[in-house]
Amino acid sequence: MSGISRRDILAAGAVGSSLVAARAFATPLDGTRMLPKRMSRSTFATAVKELQAIVGSDWVFADEESTVSYRKSFIPDLRGEHVPSGAVAPESVEEVQAILKVANKYRLPLWPISTGHNMGYGMATPASSGQMILDLKRMNRILDFDAELGTILVEPGVTYQQIHDYIAEHKLPYWIDVPTVGPIVSMVGNTLERGVGYTPYGDHFFMQCGMEVVLADGSVLKTGMGSVQNSTTWQAFKWGYGPYLDGIFTQSNFGVVTKLGMWLMPQPPVYKPFVVRYPNAEDVAKATDTIRPFRMNNLIPNGVLIMGALYQLAMFKRRTDIFNGTGAIPEELIKAEARRNGLGMWNTYFALYGTDATIAATEPILRAAFEASGGEVLTEAEMTGNPWFEHHKTLMRGGMTLEEIGLVRWWGSNGGAVAFAPVAPAKGAETAGQSALAREIMNKHGFDYAPAYAVGGRELHHIIFLMFDKGDDDSSARAETCINEMIVRFGEKGWCAYRSSVSTMDLVARQYGETNRTVNARIKHALDPNHILAPGKQGIA
């Protein structure tokens, strides 16, 4: 990026902004490191021409001006290791097949994206420079919606907003389950990354049913019941017959997923959101141990979030609103600011779904348990209007919000954030241990610990948002060192990430063991012998 601030542009006005734009575009995209490895300029140009013949010249992006949107990310990239060579955007499966043929012919590496807003993990940028983005956003058809079964079949470019609008327009009695940035991201992309949400359908891959995959050789695989002649069961029965294949196309580079089926949650007659406030940092263990049995017996049916105060505050505030000193913000200041905003040091959000009678029967059991653990149980009666409660009330019913993007500008207008997401068993000692280790490492590098725990059932995802100043190379370098240290030291304790940024995929993959990597490598080589699909994705070459 040019390093030009938002304020500069706003002040510049129409003529000024054109000049600024021209200056930014003056940097040519001719650094050889941005071309695919071992590919000459002329070969690249020939491949681009053939891609243009497939999708039209408007949908191949191979110069500085047209690729700039694909290069924007929030993660540290001081050495330009995640810079694409360009992008190509097909509108159909047939065009995907034709593109793969060209890619095989020229050994052109392709990095598939659905909508390319993988916020804390690198957005659209590839695992290594020189890959061409295979942008599937134009494939944005909702192909089927079964109003009796509550199933949907969509293409990769369909956003949660599109599905939300379709449901609203047709008054269908279903909810979707969204990640925290639902409006602009893809149901297919998030599910393939095994993302989570916050309704009872929060485990997205668990709710997935059937997919279509274009393999590197152009053949089209429909998983589960999808290849059965006259099948009516593709979105109803997950497992099909024989080995279950869907999993190998998630967090992988074994094929290009072009259709995906999902189950949708029937809209409940009554929905009641809750927050449980805990006053102290060490209370996370009590919160975890209280939630676990209710997630296991499903008395709490949804994906529960235990939100740390700083994660919450960073959504709507900047760091300088709270602290102007150097180093990490002192805990007492965070606690005081949280209290001023109606927050605890930990804020547990869950919801009940059903009828008035079922909720009335369940609520006292949960209240008693949380209150016995030292939590303060609050509902709309006390919290309506509190922006954090309203945010989670929206999320737990699958509503549209982008408010968590606010975290990215914690250090100021340059933005900067990268996520580290280790998993752990849902036990208090584990969350206490992870929080202590993360706080120690992050504070040592001068960063604030902004945590959230997403409790699935027997496990939880610890979402640590490392916020830094991307406009400051020193801050970026410390962020890179800090995230790497967290990955390594958490790994030593058996706590590994469920997903990672493009900058740390190899590091995390190594922690899952050599045999695992070898098996993945063998599958990769069998399905994609020229290694044209997303080399480096999840550490698979």
């Binding site: 916020m119 942008d135 009828t355 500008r409 933005g415």
Partner: protein, 120 residues
């Protein structure tokens, strides 16, 4: 917890909804022209719709600065959409088309202040 009660209540909602769907299809409103039809790509959206589906979730809503009612230059708006800035993601022609962006930038530039919006 009365699982039967819950099941009956869900069944009632589902039955009512099924009826609604049947009525809407029968009356020809199942393929409302305003939105997206099954099997078809998303049609070109109005600037108001692009704003409410993307920009308005941050700008004037706790996260981004207010951009309506400021007479921002069209070129500036287009630049920010394609480049992103700081915490603002970049949006590509595949998600906000060039035609949509042109109309959106004009609309934002000329839009009056919305008193309900609040910036950061």
């Amino acid at each position: 917890m009365s699982r039967h009660g819950l099941a009956h209540a869900f069944a009632r909602v589902a039955a009512a909804a099924a009826l609604l769907v049947a009525v809407s299809v029968a009356s020809g409103t199942g393929a409302l022209a305003a939105g997206q039809e099954l099997g078809k790509v998303l049609p070109t959206r109005s600037p108001e719709k692009v704003y409410s589906s993307t920009c308005g979730y941050c700008h004037g809503h706790n996260v981004g600065p207010i951009i309506r009612g400021r007479g921002l230059p069209v070129e500036t708006i287009e630049y920010f959409v394609r480049h992103g800035n700081g915490a603002m993601p970049a949006f590509r022609p595949t998600e906000i088309s060039n035609t949509e962006l042109k109309a959106l930038a004009q609309w934002i530039s000329q839009a009056p202040v919305d008193a309900k919006e609040h910036g950061q």
